[in-house]
Subunit: 345 residues, 2 copies
Amino acid sequence: MSQRIRIALDAMGGDQAPRIVLKGAERALQRFPGVHFLLYGAEDKIEPLLAKLPKLKAAATLRHTDEMVTNETKPSVALRTGRRSSMRLALDAVAAGEADGMVSAGNTGALMAMAKFVLKTLPGIDRPAIASIFPTLRGESVMLDLGANVECDEENLVQFAVMGDAFARCVLGLPQPTIGLLNVGSEEMKGHETLRVAAARLRAPGSPVAFHGFIEGNDIAGGVVDVVVTDGFTGNVALKTAEGTSKLFVEYLRQAFRHSLLARLGYLLAAPALKKMRNRIDPRRYNGAMFLGLNGIAVKSHGGADALGFANAIGVAVDMHVNGFLHQIRDELARLAPAPATAAI
Amino acid sequence: MSQRIRIALDAMGGDQAPRIVLKGAERALQRFPGVHFLLYGAEDKIEPLLAKLPKLKAAATLRHTDEMVTNETKPSVALRTGRRSSMRLALDAVAAGEADGMVSAGNTGALMAMAKFVLKTLPGIDRPAIASIFPTLRGESVMLDLGANVECDEENLVQFAVMGDAFARCVLGLPQPTIGLLNVGSEEMKGHETLRVAAARLRAPGSPVAFHGFIEGNDIAGGVVDVVVTDGFTGNVALKTAEGTSKLFVEYLRQAFRHSLLARLGYLLAAPALKKMRNRIDPRRYNGAMFLGLNGIAVKSHGGADALGFANAIGVAVDMHVNGFLHQIRDELARLAPAPATAAI
């Protein structure tokens, strides 16, 4: 892979675009000096910022467009009327083979709708899913779907398992990732019928993945499995519940250290160690949700991410490309056994 | 309310029963000296323990039974064959008016099935729900359902809102609790059809509750609403995800303080303040899931709770009784507008 890596950026997506996008890209160059960026967005806003970021300017091509997708745009409207938007053009660059992946901090629903339309789903995948890496007691795991599909059938869940497996192999570097289905109990009888059927498929001989079985909500942060598979509604609630709980904890900790003079002094002494801990759970470190199941690499940054967060989202796109995620997932899909036919009675 | 409060205990339910149940009851007497306990379980196991707990012995009546429901017993089997079990007899005491409420740390599914059968649901309630209090950035909130109903329709969700409202008034002491429906986005268009219909009902004129609207997972710990309403699958995953995240955080914190000599010293100085913080999120403090919607008070303690945790579960039952939860919820149900009839076309 001697060729330069090319990443397309929706320079206009996100709460503080294009500033944060450009600063994030400049920052990503520290880790990936070999990347070339295609920047899509409004010249008059981007040029003055680029003038102050000479390293990025030397490693980027600016492609002007006046149009952009806002956070208020409905996905269907974005799809119909957003053909010249910065988001769409960045996706087009991936589809045309001009870019190896794209990153946007814009409207999630619009990005998913456009990405499906422009990149198409991989053969054997009915619906793409949103995935993200998160910290656990044992290291890092990946969870999907995080909101692309509010309702899922057993076939979707089996496909998500394969997509998550390929991702964990490529990006987390695990030779044999374990897969868990999120449920309300680990017993085989618990939960929806859909979950039981999906589990039976993943457990059957010839299953393409190493299926651990059902897991419960507390097993997510426990790191019981490498890949947590769930529908987009439950995954979205779980991810955001974990975020909310972390915030609560940080706030309680802050209040504890302000509680007395001794506690403040204790904080000063422990500060370097606490900072390391904070880095471990820093949401910016885990910024960058992957759209899996598409014929191309598309990564969604949090709309409110700062430059460090956006740089990490770029890092996810680069990692997926460099580690051959698309080849891996195509191989796995080819191995995926078809749904078992109902036995004739 | 000059009459003595009588609480029936399933002395044989829980990982370390009857020891923890009895120690928990003795502990609860410190906070509620006026309570009298009816203890259901095996005499030969309970008597020797009671001999060492003279205060409890003086405030308790032992009612012997050899039978008990184990964690492995299926709810349907418990219902059919468990008529002489300690769990069932404690519920019977509530139904017969001999006890004002009951607490069990045993098999959740069996307890729910038996409680429904013995206590019956309140008029206007189709299905009872499991509720629990949890800490938030703004204080405390209550969430339901936490697992009694894996699938719920809009009518169930509306009834849960009423049950949660009554609970928040009585036990949290809020004059006008705000109610939120857990969803994947706060916009009106997001999520399942069931959620949109339930929201429309709760928002309509004549709604029995102060409906805030949709909330997301991060709003749970954020304390955005006083009552979080959701189906039992999502609620169970959210609750356990929050528990898992808290554990992860505590472990990271522990590692941080062991990181260096200075950090250890810092810990010593801040220890009293940190202990206060730990108390705020101590899961034992929030032990005691309420079965709401029944014609009687039944509280489920965590099976692995210690004496402090079990005492808190007893406290929940006492609070619900003393604050007239059953009267409150009956009043609210009477006010509940019937489902709007579909307009003739």
